[in-house]
Subunit: 216 residues, 2 copies
DNA sequence: ATCTGTGAACGCATTCACAGCT
DNA sequence: AGCTGTGAATGCGTTCACAGAT
């Protein structure tokens, strides 16, 4: 019904997921031109993959030459909507939450952590870099007033689902969940990404033991 | 050349990656029998997917009935080689490293963090739960003596590659990398898994803005 | 001569649909 | 009757191979 536009072919989710890796590589390269081969190598993908991914969004390169680094960087930022800036709230000022707030990377400066909240009154008011931990009670207000589109959940598993629901209710469009719980959301336009550290480690255990396996 | 065994059909990597999610669900379920449908719902996958994944390793269920929870749990632990226990070293006692060391989850108890090391002399000797932060100098010795098969990298990007090489040299079989850098290893039997927080957030930014997209 | 952009071929994973047990 | 186990069909993403541009 609300199909985007007729000229647009379907873009694989996997392609989108690789764009940030290209973006980072482009920030670290020390030249003003780059080929799909070099870019791929820096990001860990094949040159065909790079070209195909970029071609979904337009013809950014010059045949026989390659891509202009600054121009491509801006294109990818635009594609990912990073040029408008993305504001996130971290829910849970524990160790992981704190680690995230302190995290900095040049290629990631477009994603701003605009607030940190916690239920525990004893940590509310604590200074964390530029931010001060705020009360969980004010979550909805914070999200609305500061134009926050993304929530990052770093609370214990039991509390995760409730936090998720409040974030969605507050109007957040995307959620990054570090709690070891499978979250579901009724609204299909809200995107959830799980990052599950123990699950990753357990899968690794298998691959580590099978000598035949080749790491990606 | 060293093909495992003739009766074994190829197992998709994606299937392996789902097993830990099933395992967690099995630890949290409050019954002694479960159907593929219920298990799938708890883990966030379809019932066919559950059955197919499990069937790669054997016929663990009973037709018309379902799966025995305890039995299936043990089977998955065996498949992932978690029953033998997996020992990991965390390199980098910063905020993220600390968060990981303190992390606990019942379904993940088979993965033990056996040591934490750091280059900074001022944090060496610091107590972290059961562990004491040790000197980076002793890395090789620690890996060898404590039978450690997995390394977790939580150091800054610039230091990550060197740490990676030392871990591989020390004999680690698997590496979980949180540093924002693309690591590569010559030895194809060593598995590397990247978890890149800023890359994930940037990809989310895209999905959050496109209302058509459906989260997985 | 070189490197991009892209249809076509291929391979892999998910979903379907149903036969086979209990 | 109910739920597993599994070939077959489908769908999706990657790789191939080359035409097209500079």
């Amino acid at each position: 019904m609300s199909k985007d536009n007729g000229t647009m072919r379907r873009i694989p989710e996997t392609s989108i997921r690789r764009l940030p890796a290209y973006l980072r590589a482009l920030f670290r390269v020390g030249a003003d031109r780059i080929t799909s081969d070099t870019l791929g190598q820096a990001a860990g993908y094949s040159s065909e993959q790079v070209r195909k991914d970029l071609a979904y969004f337009g013809a950014f390169g010059t045949r026989g030459v390659g891509y202009d680094v600054v121009m491509l960087r801006d294109e990818i930022r635009r594609i990912l909507r990073l040029d408008q800036g993305v504001r996130a709230v971290v829910v849970g000022a524990g160790r992981l939450g704190t680690a995230l707030v302190r995290y900095t990377d040049e290629s990631a400066r477009d994603v701003t952590i605009a607030a940190v909240v916690d239920v525990n009154p004893s940590v509310v008011g604590t200074r964390m870099g530029q931010l001060t931990v705020e009360a969980m009670d004010h979550l909805e207000q914070i999200v609305a007033e500061r134009n926050i589109g993304m929530g990052v959940i770093t609370v214990p598993a039991q509390a995760a689902m409730a936090v998720c629901e409040r974030l969605v209710g507050a109007g957040v469009r995307a959620i990054l969940n570090f709690a070891p719980a499978t979250l579901t959301v009724a609204d299909p336009t809200v995107v959830i990404q799980q990052i599950d550290l123990t699950l990753e480690m357990q899968a690794l255990a298998y691959f580590a033991h099978s000598a035949e396996r080749v790491g990606q």
